[in-house]
């Protein structure tokens, strides 16, 4: 009897192994399918123009490694695809980990360039001098984008807020949707009396850093905290990564949260229009945020092109969206590794070109404004 049960158990174990094995395999399979199904869609519209793009790509052969910010990953992925299609024999491997990890990798010499949501800090520049012989790491702005403020309020379609109200909402000073401050900005809307559920990031992130930079820059009286990668505001709920914030907003009635525009588009979450003092409230779109970034100033010294966005936060230009972030590529101004320099330069040249930048709009990013793009191109051409 006992023996029988034992063999029964064994059979069960075999069955379990088979089932879990099958599950694991199907998991891998669906993963691959995802990849192949998403790549055509992201490269679908570029590939039609790939032939035209090839004109702006001067091919180099070789292999480079890069890593960093996930905020610009979708843009990089589609650029890499175009570049590798046009230039057989080239491999660009961008690992989307995080800005922090990208900079660590770069300063250890493993990366040809790194992606980062914020420009290099002084300590990081000092560390980069070990890798860049005779030079230093510089931050080259490359991908701009709007941070959308998404909300879930059935029956309210065109929510308008301004910086001060946003700051008070995210700091739990305005707690109900029918608060007079919100009512004043939305006279025609029927606002419920329910509580506002604010949602922020639980992990440290460049998105939070840039969003709080905006709140501090545009509403210093209402936002008493310094900008930081970790959330400082009072109250509210936290979720992991932009995807988590977006899905929590989607799930919770009365919720409001911030994330990159693409997440709002992907989950069809309505976004707040910002009353900047311009003639009409500004919507979060690629074109509007390019216009916002246009008022940024270059503050980097030498070849460094770090941007100061504080003028963008308070812009009153029509159709200029103020809550923007710019992600950078980090490279050495001098002293890049000779083996990878040609391909690095060629690739960066391509993504900074008019063709390269034009692809950003389709993915919810914002192309660099012309004045900055011109500086970026000449900086890249001078890399050595």
């Amino acid at each position: 009897m006992k023996l029988q049960r034992k063999s029964g158990l064994r059979a069960l174990t075999v069955g379990a192994v088979a089932i879990t094995g099958a599950l694991v395999l199907t998991a891998c399979g669906s993963d691959n399918n995802d990849d192949s199904s998403s790549t055509p869609s992201s490269s679908g519209q570029p590939s039609t123009s790939a032939a035209a793009n090839a004109g702006s790509i001067s091919c180099e052969k070789g292999q480079i490694l890069a890593s960093g910010s996930t905020a610009q990953q979708n843009a990089i992925d589609s650029w890499v695809k175009n570049y590798q299609q046009a230039c057989p024999g080239s491999t660009i491997n961008y690992k989307g980990s995080s800005s922090g990890e990208g900079i660590v990798d770069f300063n250890q010499g493993t990366d040809a360039f790194a992606g980062s949501d914020s420009p290099l800090k002084d300590t990081e520049i000092a560390a980069s001098k070990k890798v860049c012989t005779d030079g230093q790491g510089i931050s080259i702005p490359m991908v701009g984008g709007p941070i959308a403020v998404g909300y879930n309020l059935p029956g309210v379609d065109n929510l308008v807020l301004d910086a001060t109200t946003l700051a008070k909402i995210f700091n739990s000073q305005i707690t109900t949707w029918n608060d007079p401050a919100i009512k004043a900005l939305n006279p025609s809307a029927t606002l419920p009396s329910s509580k506002i559920q604010t949602v922020h990031r639980q992990d440290e992130s460049g998105t939070t850093d840039n969003f709080t930079k905006y709140l501090k820059g545009a509403a210093p009286a209402a936002w008493p905290y310094e900008h930081a990668k970790a959330w400082a505001g009072k109250g509210g709920q936290a979720a992991a990564k932009s995807a988590g914030v977006a899905s929590l907003v989607k799930q919770t009635e009365g919720a409001i949260g911030y994330f990159e525009l693409s997440y709002a588009t992907a989950s069809s979450i309505p976004t707040v229009k910002i009353n900047t003092g311009a003639s009409a409230p500004v919507e979060a779109t690629s074109a509007n945020s390019s216009a916002g970034i246009a008022s940024a100033k270059v503050v980097g010294t030498g070849a460094d092109l770090s941007l100061d966005l504080s003028a963008a936060y308070v812009t009153k230009t029509d159709n200029a969206y103020p809550i923007v972030l710019v992600t950078y590529e980090i490279a050495c101004d001098k002293g890049n590794k000779p083996a990878t320099l040609p391909l690095t330069k060629s690739f960066l040249n391509y993504i900074a070109s008019a063709d390269g930048q034009a692809q950003l709009t389709a993915q919810g990013y914002a192309p660099l404004p012309d004045a900055i793009a011109t500086k970026v191109r000449s900086t890249i051409s001078a890399l050595s």
Binding site: G8, L9, A16, G206, W231, Q237, A239, G254
Partner: protein, 326 residues
């Protein structure tokens, strides 16, 4: 030492034994494994301590009583108060839910269920252990959290006098330590059930038959002979489960709404745990921030050691009182 003694003392009987080199190799291997384990544990402890000390010495606030975690501030300010509280509380909730259910399942499988039912149940429980924790996280965030909202409202309505079930904002979602506790309970169920089942199966038939012969009902048999015999084993099983609950990372990070506040209201979406905090902060942390996170890891390490030490003492004591040695 002891392995070399028997052969020399008993050469007449074991002259033709072929297993002697095997014995020696086996003894060496097991001793080596034991030493290797100690070395690995020591290496972990030393690594954690060295990295932690350099971070804590630069911490501007009290490491043990600060709520906030912001190592990138200048001067840095971070502490583990909220994390320690959240880790311990969510694990306690998980244990309160999981242990009775797990023991119940184990008893059901061994004593009550018909054979045809016991096998499949045991199999399904085993399968629970094979589900990756991120899957539990996704299921928790997308299914459990919305569905627990009603239960939360009900608890808040009728049990808010207990303080722990009071909810500050009834509309906030159920991304709380309570929900995490429930999720952890499901995750640690298989290991506690499995080990308990094996232990309960080892209870000598004689004990049970003796109790039956004295006229005991089935429940009395379980209460008088099975549970006392299996108690230390069940406690060990629970400790294994607790180990998993203390260290669970991805599921907690996906489900919990973490924020640096300490609250007795278990249904409020606030709090945090050690491993959740590490996974949330590690990506963007610089060199110093990582050291700070490692310091928090050291505290978790110490808590785990304390818990396991306490469990050993309890088991040791129980062993003397139960009839397990009979």
């Amino acid at each position: 030492m002891t392995t070399t003694a028997p052969p020399t003392s008993a050469p007449p009987t074991t002259t033709r034994t072929v297993t002697r080199p095997g014995d020696r190799i086996f003894a060496g291997m097991s001793r080596g494994s034991g030493i290797l384990l100690l070395v690995v544990m020591a290496a972990i402890a030393i690594f954690l301590t060295v990295r932690a000390v350099s971070a804590i010495s630069k911490d501007h606030t009290n490491f043990l009583t600060t709520f906030e975690w912001n190592a990138s501030l200048t001067p840095p300010s971070f502490g583990v108060a909220v994390l320690a509280y959240g880790t311990v509380v969510s694990s306690i909730i998980a244990m309160l839910i999981a242990v009775p259910i797990a023991v119940g399942i184990a008893l059901f499988i061994t004593h009550y269920a018909p054979r045809q039912l016991g096998g499949p149940i045991a199999f399904v429980i085993d399968l629970l252990a094979a589900v990756p924790s991120i899957i539990y996280g996704l299921w928790g965030a997308l299914f459990l959290v919305p569905h627990l909202h009603g239960l939360n409202l009900w608890l808040d309505n009728y049990f808010s006098w207990t303080v722990i079930f009071a909810k500050e904002d009834p509309n906030s979602s159920a991304r709380s330590l309570f929900t995490v506790g429930i999720l952890l309970a499901i995750m640690i169920l298989p290991i506690i059930t499995n080990v308990s089942r094996e232990v309960i199966r080892q209870v000598p038939k004689m004990h049970q038959e003796a109790a039956l012969a004295l006229g005991a009902t089935r429940w009395e048999v379980i209460r008088l002979s099975v549970l006392p015999f299996a108690r230390s084993g069940i406690i060990s099983a629970s400790m294994l489960g607790l180990g998993r609950a203390l260290g669970e990372t991805m599921a907690v990070a996906t489900v919990l709404s973490a924020s640096p506040q300490l609250s007795a209201h278990l249904l409020d979406p606030i709090g945090g745990t050690f491993s959740q905090n590490i996974v949330a902060k590690f990506g963007e942390a610089d060199e110093f921030g990582r050291d700070a996170l490692i310091a928090s890891g050291l505290v978790l390490f110490v808590i785990t050691l304390l818990v396991n030490g306490a469990a050993r003492i309890i088991i040791q004591r129980r062993k003397e009182y139960s009839g397990a040695n009979a």
